[in-house]
């Protein structure tokens, strides 16, 4: 899908080394406090460290080597969680650094007045303010975000998009915005600066990447509440075990009450440290994964919303179809020959530089070898396409040749008091019903025939929509075509619904209707007229090639300007939520095995009969508890890759998805610790700890 991506391995040595340093810096209490679950582990580690030191001199309530072992591994639990977060942040920081390298002080040619050869002064880019005019010539860097007001140039935007092929930027239309840090390769541009220093697109991108860890998304907050509640429950369970144990010792008249070290170990094993330790890494990695797909989200919230999308609005042109409508046939009416039609059509198209126009000339040449004529040699005047007439053509002397949509030509013909042949209308309908666009050609009051413009649906798009349907997402195609054409393309592409003859107002209305029914709507857009709809949509992806207004209105920017990317964005959003859910389930399911390891061990001296619950046949009470703590720490490290890569997502319905994930992460979460703790216990016993 994407031509080039910021390919990045999951780990690189630089990132790992930098993360290692950060791991220790994050031991500051201020940092730990941000993550309530890990803060409990942190406090527990401090407590057991204190107990061990106290025990060294005064004799503690458990053996010194056991206390040291538990303390050691509790600290590792904290460090592993720090490490996970640092690695995720490190990856994002590397991406931010790459972005920042594109941002440096650039000498700009600030114009005094909006004229190409007006005098200019050289200033550095931070001195530029909104509204300033600058001239950028071949080889110059673009000093700031801006709007092209004059000129056409090819621009190298690889610094922000990673895409090496240059893009065209020109005044007017949807390709008029330039981004600071990119470079003009040929020609020149006159640009009006649209952002003050520090507010530019690049600045916002960098800020976004760097602040990724600081803002929690709504769902993350809700999950944190649940994790805190679970932590409190386990705190209650372990704290009350002390009086319970004292009472049991009193009444059974054997053994000693459970030691604080064992209680802390039990607490840390039970609280959801796996998800607690990896939660922020998952969030950071989600934004990182978006960046790898060359999508910059303005907030983590937007990514989360992407997972919930119910409706995708997709522009037909460029997203569903290849977007270059090509003339495919000349369909004459009455006694007019195909060649006559081709000849007149070519004349009408001579000055038309659009790809569609070119394709008519090429088809005429291919079929009837009609040479290209020069418009000024014919003494003809070119009639440009306008939104009012919705026709274009030429006037050669008295002769008025026009091509355009059926109703436009009808109006044109009837205006000359001629009869509009019903056959033309019928033919146009047939063409439209095939999903092609009919263009009628008229010479004065006489309709000659229809040019069929064919648009090709992208390969594989139907399968993509099928996947979306299985995920429960409805696709709606947006097109300016008439209903018949739209229906035919919609059927061919396999979209669920379409909006034909779409105007910006109709688009906005459609989004509002869907939202009123409670649906979450995603769309892509690039033009200024898309901006209101982008602002209204819940997930709005602006194309980087689009206008500044579109980018401002959206909450994500696709650097590749690839509208199909919306599908990948949805998947990434879902993946992030799934990873959280999977690790939470896994973390909770783990507790079962830990109870079987620790409960019999903790009360072995009071109630030896509880040994019946030691179904793993762990060697001794101390090795059982230590094994559980070690497993608890190591599982965090083992799951870092999963947290960063995300749970695998396959498009299927909710029920099947849930069944699979419950089986893998719930079932696996029950079994894995039994095996892991047993193996660690065997290892400890072999080392005769």
């Amino acid at each position: 899908m994407t031509p080039t991506q910021h390919k990045q391995p999951l780990f690189s040595w630089q990132i790992l080394l930098a993360a290692l340093g950060d791991t220790f810096l994050k031991l500051a209490p201020r940092q730990q406090w941000k993550n309530p679950v890990m803060f409990v582990v942190y406090t527990g580690s401090l407590l057991t460290t204190g107990l061990w030191l106290w025990g060294l001199f005064n004799g503690g309530d458990d053996s010194a080597s056991f206390m040291l072992g538990v303390t050691f591994w509790l600290w590792f639990t904290v460090l592993f969680a720090n490490f996970a977060e640092s690695v995720a942040e490190g990856r994002s920081k590397a991406q931010a650094a790459a972005l920042r390298s594109a941002k440096r002080d650039i000498v700009a040619k600030k114009l005094d007045e909006p004229r190409y050869n007006a005098p200019y002064v050289k200033v550095t880019s931070p001195a530029l303010r909104k509204g300033d005019l600058v001239l950028i010539e071949a080889g110059d860097f673009v000093p700031a975000d801006g709007e092209v007001i004059e000129g056409v140039a090819s621009v190298d935007e690889s610094a922000i998009t990673g895409e090496s092929a240059p893009v065209i930027r020109e005044s007017g239309g949807d390709f008029s915005s330039v981004t600071g840090g990119t470079r003009v390769l040929s020609d020149w541009l006159m640009v009006r600066v649209t952002a003050n220093p520090g507010e530019a697109f690049l600045d916002r991108m960098i800020a976004m990447v760097e602040s990724a860890t600081r803002q929690k998304t709504p769902n993350e907050i809700a999950l944190t509440i649940l994790l805190v509640a679970l932590t409190l429950i386990f705190l209650l369970t372990t704290v009350t075990l002390l009086p319970f144990s004292i009472y049991s010792v009193e009444t059974a008249k054997s053994g000693t009450p459970v030691s604080i070290t064992v209680l802390v170990a039990l607490l840390v094993c039970l609280i959801p440290t796996t998800i607690g330790g990896l939660l922020s890494a998952i969030g950071v990695a989600g934004i990182g994964r978006m960046m790898q797909k060359n999508v910059i989200a303005t907030s983590g919230r937007a990514i989360e919303a992407a997972g919930d999308v119910d409706v995708l609005l997709l522009d037909k042109t460029g997203t569903i179809t290849l977007g270059n409508r090509q003339a495919s046939a000349f369909l004459p009416i009455g006694e007019i020959t195909e060649k006559e039609l081709a000849d007149t059509a070519q004349l009408a198209t001579l000055a038309d530089e659009t790809p569609e126009g070119r394709s008519i000339i090429i088809l005429a040449k291919q079929k009837f070898n009609i040479r290209e004529r020069k418009i000024h040699e014919l003494g003809a005047t070119f009639i440009a396409f306008s939104a009012q007439t919705r026709m274009s053509g030429v006037n050669i002397g008295e002769r008025q040749i026009r091509k355009g949509a059926a109703d436009a030509i009808r109006r044109f013909v009837e205006a000359q008091h001629a009869k509009f042949p019903p056959e033309a209308m019928r033919l146009a309908d047939i063409v439209a019903r095939h999903g092609s666009t009919p263009l009628l050609v008229a010479d004065g009051g006489r309709v000659l025939g229809v040019i069929e413009l064919k648009d090709t649906v992208k390969g594989g798009i139907k399968e993509r929509f099928g996947e979306l349907r299985r995920m429960g997402i409805k696709t709606i195609m947006i097109t300016g075509d008439n209903r018949l054409t739209a229906a035919a393309i919609a059927a061919e592409a396999g979209v669920d619904d379409f909006l034909a003859e779409a105007t910006p107002e109709a688009k906005l209305k459609l989004i509002r209707e869907q939202q009123a029914e409670g649906r979450l709507v995603a769309m892509t857009g690039d033009g200024t007229n898309d901006a209101p709809a982008l602002a209204q949509a819940d997930v709005a992806v602006a194309m980087n090639s689009g206008t500044q207004a579109a980018k401002e209105a959206g909450n994500m920017v696709d650097l590749d300007s690839n509208p199909t990317k919306l599908i990948e964005i949805v998947e990434t959003g879902k993946q992030m939520l799934m990873t959280r859910g999977a690790l939470t389930t896994f973390s909770l399911a783990n507790d079962l095995a830990k109870y079987f390891a620790i409960v019999p061990a903790a009360f072995a001296s009071t109630y030896p009969a509880l040994g019946a619950l030691n179904i793993m046949r762990l060697d001794s009470p101390s090795s059982a508890i230590l094994s559980a703590v070690i497993f608890n720490a190591l599982i965090i490290v083992a799951l870092i890759p999963l947290a960063l890569k995300g749970v695998k997502y396959r498009p299927q319905n909710a029920e099947a998805l849930l069944r699979n994930n419950l089986l893998i992460y719930g079932g696996g979460g029950v079994i894995v610790p039994f095996v892991g703790i047993k193996l660690i216990d065997l290892g400890l016993t072999a080392l005769s700890f």
Partner: protein, 584 residues
């Protein structure tokens, strides 16, 4: 396990599930204010009540107003019961001239009946006058049950409504619940019970000459020639105590007493009444949210947990005590005896009917008993206790069981919803931070009360001195008492002498916090849900009306219940079981 036992359990479940549906649909009509057969009869009375008390039945309350109305009403109810008890010696309908109740016991009982717990630190026949029983306790049996149902209905409205500010009207929900559901059912049921021989009279206790005169240390040197038989207006109270998951017996022996539960038929009907309304409310829920399958999924989850745990209790009781077996005591089933562990059980009920009752009363937060749980085998006794600790959500109290279960459903949906890659939703409502906060409080409060209360009781002398059986069993008795109070169940491991200022106060506080500490956040959730938009269902939505969801819900309830209470249970029933079986 016997064929006869299986047959009785099947019969019980079949009758329960058959009756639940029509009753559930009827209750949905009651709360949706649709015309009923009874409206013609009781409609004028209902309207008169509103006029008399100045209630505007059309008023739609915000959740805060709903909660305030509920709390004021319950406070008033509690105070009424409290004063009736401490003044009963001077009030009418006290043929036995029973004394005024002590302040701490009166506080405990007032709280107990207002919160639908019906923990009884006293013995009814020697403490409460007929007036206190009927006007105090009997009335509370109705209104505390109707309060629970009202909260449930308010929560269901939260799911039903979109962008709404209100969640209904507490006064009408309360009145309609009593008038159209509890009163008619109790009226019919009480008549049936009287037909079976349950007493219903204002006569004073009867002195009956003994067939065989006895002398004992207590009567020495004179011989005892008569016995006082306690009677009273019992049937009317028994009907509602079973139907309203109240459980507070007229007599101290509760439904083990032949005047409360004389025949196998009365026993069957009383057991049925324990679970009837809680099961039926699942259908009410399904009907009100417009998808009966939603109700079925929850009912299925409840039934599956209930049946599995019933088999544990039954199996454990039927297999008896290995320590007795080694003494040569015959514990096998035969034509002449029920076999198994018959200590504390009535011979006319046997093992199966005691096990069904014990499991049902633990599940449903009813708390009535027909056998003594303290005498159960360790595992047999652990099941009712664990059912309470699960949060009283397996059927649970009328209303309170289902609203608790729906909160667990929110938690299940939250974690599972994430696993399918969407922010979680239940019945079209997004589950967000506020709902999770309230759900957390709802799960934390009982855990805190049970574990914290038990911890306190086992370290202070006032707590430990009440234990009749030291050791692990004594620990179970305390754990059971706090579970019962916090879960608003009301049954007891009888070994604990709980009518002391320490337990009356500690358990009273547990009952209060265990009831209103949950009702308030539940109403808050209702308010928050009602204000949200309703998201349409797609195939990308987690379906909550499927067997998979029922399993998920079971898993969530059992996991939370197990993770919270396993260590405590290990030091009580589990170790007792291991020691009894001699596994060293």
């Amino acid at each position: 396990m016997t064929e006869n036992g299986l047959l009785q359990i099947t019969l019980y479940l079949a009758a329960l599930l058959l009756l639940a549906k029509p009753l559930g649909l009827y209750m949905a009509k009651v709360y949706e204010n649709r015309p009923l057969f009874l409206t013609r009869l009781l409609g004028p009375l209902e309207a008169g009540l509103y006029r008399f008390s100045g209630v505007d039945p059309e008023q739609d309350m915000r959740w805060q107003d709903y909660a305030a109305a509920l709390l004021w009403f319950n406070l008033f109810s509690g105070l009424a019961v409290f004063f009736l008890q401490i003044l009963q010696a001077w009030l009418p309908l006290n043929p036995q001239h029973l004394a005024n109740v002590s302040f701490d016991s009166a506080f405990n009982t007032a709280v107990s009946f207002a919160t639908n717990t019906n923990w009884q630190g006293y013995s009814g026949e020697t403490t409460m006058s007929y007036l206190t029983q009927m006007l105090g306790l009997g009335v509370q049996n109705f209104v505390s049950a109707a309060t629970g149902m009202a909260v449930l209905i308010a929560l269901v409205r939260g799911f039903q409504r979109t962008h709404a500010a209100g969640i209904g009207n507490f006064w009408t929900d309360l009145t309609r619940g009593v008038l159209y559901i509890l009163l008619p059912l109790s009226f019919v049921f009480a008549l049936v019970l009287v037909g079976q021989g349950v007493v219903q009279t204002f006569k004073p206790y009867q002195s009956i000459p003994l067939v065989e005169q006895v002398s004992s240390a207590a009567t020495a040197p004179a011989e005892q020639t008569t016995q006082t038989i306690a009677i009273g207006p019992a049937a009317s109270q028994i009907a509602i105590k079973q139907l309203g998951t109240n459980g507070g017996g007229f007599f101290n022996a509760n439904s083990a007493h032949p005047f409360e539960n004389p025949t196998p038929l009365s026993n069957f009907l009383e057991m049925l009444a324990i679970l009837l309304i809680p099961a039926a409310l699942c259908h009410t829920f399904g009907a009100m949210v417009g998808n009966p399958r939603q109700g079925w999924a929850i009912l299925a989850a409840m039934t599956m947990v209930f049946v599995s745990l019933l088999f544990v209790t039954w199996g454990s009781e039927q297999s008896g005590n290995p320590a007795l077996a080694s003494l040569g005591v015959e514990q096998s089933v035969s034509v002449n005896q029920a076999g198994g562990n018959m200590e504390g059980k009535e011979t006319r009920f046997g093992i199966v009917n005691s096990a069904i009752w014990a499991t049902a009363t633990g599940a449903a937060s009813n708390g009535s008993v027909n056998s003594m749980h303290d005498s159960y085998t360790p595992l047999g006794g652990m099941i009712p206790m664990w059912l309470i600790q699960l949060g009283e959500v397996i059927f649970g109290g009328v209303g309170s069981g289902l609203y608790g279960m729906l909160v667990f459903a929110l938690v299940a949906v939250f974690v599972a919803g994430l696993m399918i890659g969407r922010t979680p939703e239940y019945l079209g409502k997004k589950i967000e931070a506020f709902e999770m906060k309230m759900a957390s409080i709802i799960i934390l409060i009982p855990a805190f009360l049970i574990l914290g209360g038990t911890a306190l009781a086992v370290i202070v002398d006032a707590g430990k001195s009440a234990i009749a059986n030291p050791g692990a069993h004594g620990f179970s008795e305390i754990l059971y008492a706090f579970s019962s109070a916090a879960g608003n169940n009301g049954s007891a491991f009888a070994g604990l002498g709980a009518n002391t200022p320490f337990y009356n106060t500690a358990l009273g506080i547990s009952m209060l916090a265990g009831r209103y500490g949950i009702i308030i956040p539940v109403l808050a959730i209702a308010g928050s849900l009602a204000a949200k938009k309703t998201v349409p269902t797609t195939i990308g939505t987690l379906p909550t009306d499927t067997p998979l969801f029922a399993m998920l819900l079971i898993g969530t309830v059992l996991l939370v219940g197990a993770l919270t209470f396993v260590p405590a249970l290990a030091l009580g029933p589990v170790i007792e079981h291991l020691i009894m079986n001699g596994t060293h």
